[in-house]
Amino acid sequence: MSTSHNPSRRFFIKSTAIAGGGLVIGFNWFAGCAPSTSGSDDLPKEWFEINAFLKIGENGKVTIMSPNPEIGQNVKTSMPMLVAEELDVDWQQVLVEQAPLNTSVFTRQLAGGSQSIRQGWVSLRTAGATAKHMLKQAAAELMGVPLEELTTENGIVSHEASGRKIGYGELASKAATLPVPEDVPLKSVKDFKIIGTSKKNVDGKKIVTGKPLFGIDYKAEGMKIAMIAHPPAFGMRLKSASLEQVKTMPGILDAFVFKTYEDGYERQWSDEVSFAELVAIVGNSTWEVMKAKKSLDLAWEEIPAVDGQVKAFITPKNGVIPSGLESSEDHMKAMELASKTIATVVRKDGDPEAVFKKAARILERTYTAPFLAHNTMEPMNFFADVNAERAILVGPIQTPEFMEKSASARLGLPLEKIDIQMTRMGGGFGRRLYGHFLVEAGVISQKVGAPVKLVYSREDDMTSGVYRPAYHATYRAAIGSNNELLAFHVNAGGIPETPLMADRFPAGAVDHYLAEEWSVASNISVGAFRAPRSNFIAGAEQAFLDELAEELGQDPIEFRLSLLQRAKDKPVGKNNDYDPERYAGVLKLVRDKSNWANSAAGVSRGVSAYFCHNSYVAQVLELHMENDRPVIDRVVSAVDCGIVVNKDAAINMTEGSIVDGIGHALYSELPIKDGKPVHTNLNTYQLIRHKDAPKKIEVHFVESEIDPTGLGEPPYPPIFGAVANALYKATGQRYYHQPFIKERKLLG
């Protein structure tokens, strides 16, 4: 990188050969750049590493390593806050660096499932607490007093009896030599000084000044640029490639066919990939490669069925992938047929079939949603520098530990010769869980014998699959002659997997309950997409509950609360996957904060609530129609995620989920036609933009001392239901089929 390096700063990541994720290089691109800072930039002359999470400079500055990949969920700020809290350091003295993959000291270096804070809650605090203990011990020895007589605050150890104080900076070199204590006590919630406050994003200054941060920004000496070409449709493969001509184009070094994974390799879940064989083109600069790529002479063919079976190139452990060029209309028909013919029961309470037969009336509704592309703003990319001795892999990846194994297998290098450094990511949403692009970069670098940065164009990215599945859910409610809910039935499936969550609300609240699932095989590849499965089933369920409440003549919030009361007082069945009291808690909070009892004139409101990834969220969305287009005036959100670590950042995450969900509910889809994604770039694939975002979002947290749970995903699923329910109030019509903007040509 081009920023200057201060030679008096020694940011060495120690070179340690450790089985399963060792660090092989002494210099780290990130360490060579200025670390992310919350306060003044006075850097120390020397750092003393107290433990793998933190080092202290002689001037009292503290560098905290942030272990997990950063996708915008801001763990790079909140995880260090946990360390800093127990360390008792002034946050202004804290610098943060991204830790590389290091499986010997860090656990679960992964971005996904909204688990980083929840799973790091104790370990990160312990790292800070043990360091604090070692500093106190150093002070005790220097002062010649018992450790018990010392206190710490803001980076200073004090001995009250004598009035002596020593700063952490003076103690660090001695503390670094002391043994790490076992069993140090952690603070109680009431003593928190950092946790629960709002701290600014540690990378904020770098982001707004355009510093190199993302994988696509990475540069290394002698680095080449690579791009790939993949089949134009799912169900197709390379037939032939004439690559001699393209190799003569300006700036082009090589072009070749390669396989991301070798035949016979048993792929892990994170090795999800759409096309077995790709064409690589390598050159000196991105534009030269993009230009040359356009003139690649490639022929494609349909993957044939094999042995009378439909079977495409990769057979995962769990089934065959059909051949053929698929289209969305056929998908819809297949889902409708499957829902009626091949559903299997996952949960049954009571005797729902009998109750439905005798019901006074039945409400039945079907909901669908299309494939979605993740469309992270930063397209897929990765840097690799592979030789016979080692592989240096740098870039945006949500699963470095998993992909290290894949890279090791593919490149024929043992784990300790693989070094993975995580850059900041321009969005994840689950797409970068599947690190085929990391492996591809490694293979290309190995083949050309040079450092290579592989870059996907937006077209490559959007048409590379790993989509959010297409889904279909039918809900039925049996209603008695006194307008009571007697039985509840959900039948949910998708292509190629079901979204069903059989043990979630209202399971447990209804005596007679049936949950069924099915799936339709497809060669369209899919992957986890922000709150997998929940991102569809929540909206469908919450829209149905709304319509059901109306059918029963009840207020939508009171109806849900009455069911939750039942689930609390006399739960039905086993393994009900929610706490009815906490679930009711967010509904009550949103009812209160949105002033639900008094609706403003001209404003249509919809309510929705959901529990997923360990947190509870309820939302009220308010909109009005303008020229047949919904204008979102306000969203009020109530969140129960236990202790809130970084208050304003938690609000930001909730806001983002809400905007994201509104956008997908209303606008986004990726239809498939003859195996081809219909949209290939953002000029036609619709994502929510400024004008369509809510004018106002209010976020309220349930006050809690429960250990924190995540926020990357929980506020996302319910908003889909709130949109559908508000649209109903505004237009008099119910919305069932996302994207809603198309359903009855809302836009005209």
Binding site: S2, I71, G72, Q73, S198, N201, G204, K205, I207, V208, T209, G210, P212, F214, I216, D217, K219, I225, S285, T286, W287, M290, K291, N375, T376, M377, E378, P379, R424, M425, G426, G427, F429, V455, S457, R458, D648, A649, N652, M653, E655, G656, S657, I658, V659, D660, G663, N681, L682, N683, L687, I688, R689, H690, K691, A693, P694, K695, K696, I697
Partner: protein, 152 residues
């Protein structure tokens, strides 16, 4: 290849380059100015926004030949110390989540305020409609622009 001179952030830069190269890639690959981002390449996402003679433009869809005699400002040149009122407002409101779109957002916003120092909410939305934020920070972006307008 041709020898082309462009003026970026107050400095003349000589490039030995295909004149049809988009400005975006000249900045990122040839001048080490990676603050301007690649998002779509078809002027639909705004991540590549720069100022050309003070006007917000999508650098993915301008060739270096087209801007050879024009004054270009990128995010790196918006201010000396990251203290443009828009940048300060972005930090005050803690706008970014992943951060990838934000350089483009800031360039669009600063161009708007250059032209219209007191924009209405609708004028902000209109001017910023070409900049996608996949993480959904739109409400904060708008608030930051309103703050920056007060502090110009």
């Amino acid at each position: 290849m041709a020898n082309i001179t462009i003026k970026v952030n107050g400095k003349k830069q000589n490039l030995d380059i295909d004149p049809e190269t988009p400005l975006l890639w000249a900045l990122r690959d040839h001048l080490d100015l990676v603050g301007t981002k690649f998002g779509c390449g078809v002027a639909s996402c705004g991540a590549c926004t720069v100022h050309v003679e003070g006007v917000a433009m999508r650098s993915c869809s301008l060739t270096v030949a087209q801007v050879a005699d024009k004054k270009i400002t990128t995010i790196e040149g918006l201010s000396e110390n990251g203290d443009h009122p828009v940048q300060k407002a972005w930090l005050e409101h803690d706008v970014p989540q992943c951060g990838y779109c934000q350089a483009g957002q800031i360039m669009s916003a600063s161009a708007l305020l250059n032209k219209n120092p007191n924009p209405s909410e609708v004028e902000i939305e209109d001017a910023m409609q070409g900049n996608i934020c996949r993480c959904g920070t739109y409400t904060r972006i708008k608030a930051a622009i309103q703050t920056a307008a007060k502090n110009l």
